[in-house]
């Protein structure tokens, strides 16, 4: 099956979407193959469990299939799919009952120390840690963040998305992206220092 898929001439997303809507299962399979790595890459920031990860990605694509008729081509297919993936991941965390989604209007979220200056001095991880250890510490700290902050940080720092793309994906303004990133970075520093005080610059 995969060989057959690989032999297909490259088609753009819009054509594959149209063919899927016309009932072509293979076209949808091509879309999944095209984006599965990116969605796996995104979803792994929300769970370390391989089974849950696969379920998240699978559900993202199945939801996308069922909503394909609502795709208006106003944004790119990848942005549209990412939006479904992010929402699927957030739903998953909400169902898990941990670290529920909070709104930025929450006073506790607004009241945070000034990033950069007041959030403590987080040292560089390079010298002391192996790559796997850095990944582990970073994941632990991300898990401490409210989801709205974790998501912007993941989209910016790991997915390397532009502010405008993040804004489009989450349906928020660029200003909101900036302010969430601002707070998210401060929260991230605080979380690393709280979980691993040894990484403070004074402690190095």
């Amino acid at each position: 099956m995969n060989t057959l898929v690989m032999e297909q001439p490259a088609q753009n997303d819009a054509a594959l979407v149209q063919e899927t809507l016309e009932g072509n299962q293979l076209s949808f399979q091509l879309l999944v193959e095209r984006y599965q790595d990116r969605i796996f890459g995104l979803a792994r920031h929300y769970t370390r469990n391989a089974v849950e990860l696969e379920d998240l990605v699978q559900d993202t694509f199945i939801k996308a299939y069922h909503r394909l008729e609502t795709f208006q081509h106003q944004s790119s297919f990848s942005t549209w799919l990412y939006r479904i993936a992010v929402n699927t991941c957030l739903d998953f965390l909400k169902r898990r009952g941990r670290n529920p989604v909070q709104t930025v209007e929450d006073p506790e979220l607004i009241e945070t120390s000034s990033p950069g200056r007041g959030a403590g001095s987080l040292g560089s991880p390079d010298a002391a840690l192996e790559r796997e250890e850095i990944v582990q510490v970073t994941h632990e700290a991300l898990e401490e963040l409210p989801e709205i902050f974790r998501t912007v940080l993941v989209l910016r720092e790991f997915e390397e998305m532009a502010y405008q793309d993040i804004a489009d994906l989450l349906g928020i303004s660029i200003g909101t992206v900036e302010s969430r990133l601002f707070r998210a970075r401060a929260r991230f520093k605080e979380a690393v220092l709280r979980l691993h005080p040894e990484f403070g610059q004074d402690g190095r």
Partner: protein
């Protein structure tokens, strides 16, 4: 423009540093931030701190999708699988137990209420209330004796009806 960037205050420059490092500023803004950082050691430290932060965000290799993943997913989708999300490992039992516990608690509370009502009716018919009222009056009397005060001070009007009021008050 490049040769004459807008001069920034430290507050303005610090606010622009994240966007500067993310490559999100206009050329003009970037030039201004760059010029400020060259002149200002304090803001340079802020920028260094933000730069260091980025070193924590190193990516792991993306796990390979399982063999046949795309084929399986598209087959499921076309078979009408609704894609109801992901039973959460280790948590699904909690979510199913909670409603059961709540229902059980409600049922127990209702049962207790019925039991209490039944006992109340029985005790009334057996004159239990009057006995308890008398006991209570005796306790009140002891308290007043200890304090050297008359019950009449607390219960106005008819002292003779005091015990009745006390009983009524406690019903």
């Amino acid at each position: 423009m490049e040769g004459n960037p807008l001069r920034l205050t430290c507050d303005s420059a610090s606010a622009l540093v994240p966007g500067f490092l993310d490559g999100e500023l206009s050329e003009e803004q970037s030039s201004s931030v760059r010029a400020h950082l060259l002149d200002c050691p304090a803001c340079r430290e802020v920028a260094k701190g933000e730069q260091v932060l980025k070193r924590w965000f190193i990516d792991e290799p993306i796990p390979d999708a399982p063999a046949g993943f795309a084929a399986r997913v598209s087959r499921r989708a076309f078979a009408g699988d609704p894609g109801v999300l992901v039973p959460v490992a280790g948590h699904s039992s909690e979510s199913s137990v909670l409603p059961f516990v709540l229902r059980l608690t409600a049922a127990a509370a209702a049962l207790l209420l019925m039991l209490a009502a039944t006992m109340h009716v029985r005790s009334r018919s057996a004159g239990g209330d009057e006995l308890r009222a008398e006991d209570l009056d005796a306790v009140w009397a002891e308290i007043y004796d200890l304090e050297g005060e008359s019950p009449a001070r607390y219960w106005d009007d008819d002292p003779a009806a005091d015990s009745g009021k006390g009983a009524a008050r406690d019903r």
